[in-house]
């Protein structure tokens, strides 16, 4: 399934509802269903928190979020695209590169440390979203930035959620 449109809270909520119905139809395993939904919520809320500080002028009527959920051979793929401010790009890129460089044990450690120490930002982000997405999907975060104009870049993210549970989640 795919979606292209604005990133306001109501629409993202509706999108979550639709995905939930769809997942109930196609996925028999409740733990996989939950995991896909959980990762999806984190990704969409990440976008929502980022979207919050981009002014409407930058967008005009431009459709701002692209979303695809696909299932092939049992594996799920979530692909999203949204605009971010150019000045945020280096920090976001550095964060994803760091997460991708960590082993599953190290990811868990960083997650627990951030959970215990970090504060919640004004936007409502906990700094845990991308770490959690990497941890629960058990793989790398694939991404691309494309310069759109002087202010904005288009950020795409792809996450693969394997049909078999990743070892990271099995290890205690």
């Amino acid at each position: 399934m795919s979606y292209k449109g604005n990133a306001n809270g109501d629409l993202l909520n509706n999108l979550m509802d639709v995905v939930q119905v769809k997942l109930a139809e196609v996925e028999p395993k409740s733990n996989i269903k939950k995991r896909v939904f959980h990762i999806l919520v984190e990704i969409l809320q990440n976008i929502y928190h980022h979207y919050g500080h981009i002014t409407i002028d930058d967008f005009s009527d431009k459709e701002s979020v692209t979303f695809v959920l696909a299932k092939t051979q049992g594996d799920y793929y979530i692909i999203t695209g949204n605009y971010i401010l150019n000045e945020e790009m280096p920090a976001l890129k550095a964060k994803i590169d760091l997460i991708n460089s960590l082993s599953s044990e190290k990811l868990k450690q960083v997650y627990v440390e951030t959970l215990g120490n970090g504060v919640i930002s004004e936007k409502g982000g906990a700094g845990l979203g991308l770490i959690e997405i990497a941890r629960k999907s058990g793989g790398k975060l694939f991404y691309e930035f494309r310069l759109y104009n002087n202010h904005l870049s288009f950020f795409s993210l792809m996450v693969k959620i394997p049909a078999a549970l990743p070892a990271a989640a099995k290890a205690k």
């Binding site: 909520n13 409740s30 809320q45 627990v112 215990g116 919640i120 906990a126 959690e132 099995k170």
Partner: protein, 124 residues
């Protein structure tokens, strides 16, 4: 002081905090965009509760799933309960048999929180 009670919605959990029995329950899902806004009244309620807690506080958590900003709020809730010195506090963490993610979350909190967290499997 009054009990704290909220009905479950599609994005927020049922919250039932009984001041006279010390029985606390959180169940359902917790995925609000703004978790702080949602949990703030509960934080304030707990700030009052810990001043005069029940001899035993038993907190059952039966969540289907929660977002990362809610997990921060759970830490905030547990930190408040850690302040109880004149009473016993126990957290009962429930997860479905095949739900490794929810089990793992319980284990994460165990590493961070100085309150006994008892893991309970719900058999499917």
């Amino acid at each position: 002081m009054e009990n704290f009670f909220l009905e479950e919605t599609s994005k927020t959990p049922k919250l039932s905090f009984d001041v006279s029995t010390g029985k606390f329950l959180m169940s359902g899902r917790s995925i609000p965009e703004n978790s702080i806004e949602f949990y703030k009244p509960l934080f304030e309620w707990l700030d009052e509760y810990v001043k005069k807690p029940c001899p035993k506080t038993s907190f059952d958590i039966k969540l289907e799933y929660f977002n990362t900003s809610s997990s921060k709020c759970l830490v905030e809730i547990f930190r408040r309960l850690e302040k109880v010195t004149d009473g016993e506090v126990v957290i009962n963490w429930f997860y479905e048999e095949d739900d490794e993610d929810m089990q793992e979350s319980g284990e994460d909190f165990k590493e961070l929180i100085n309150i006994p967290i008892i893991m309970n499997v719900i058999e499917n």
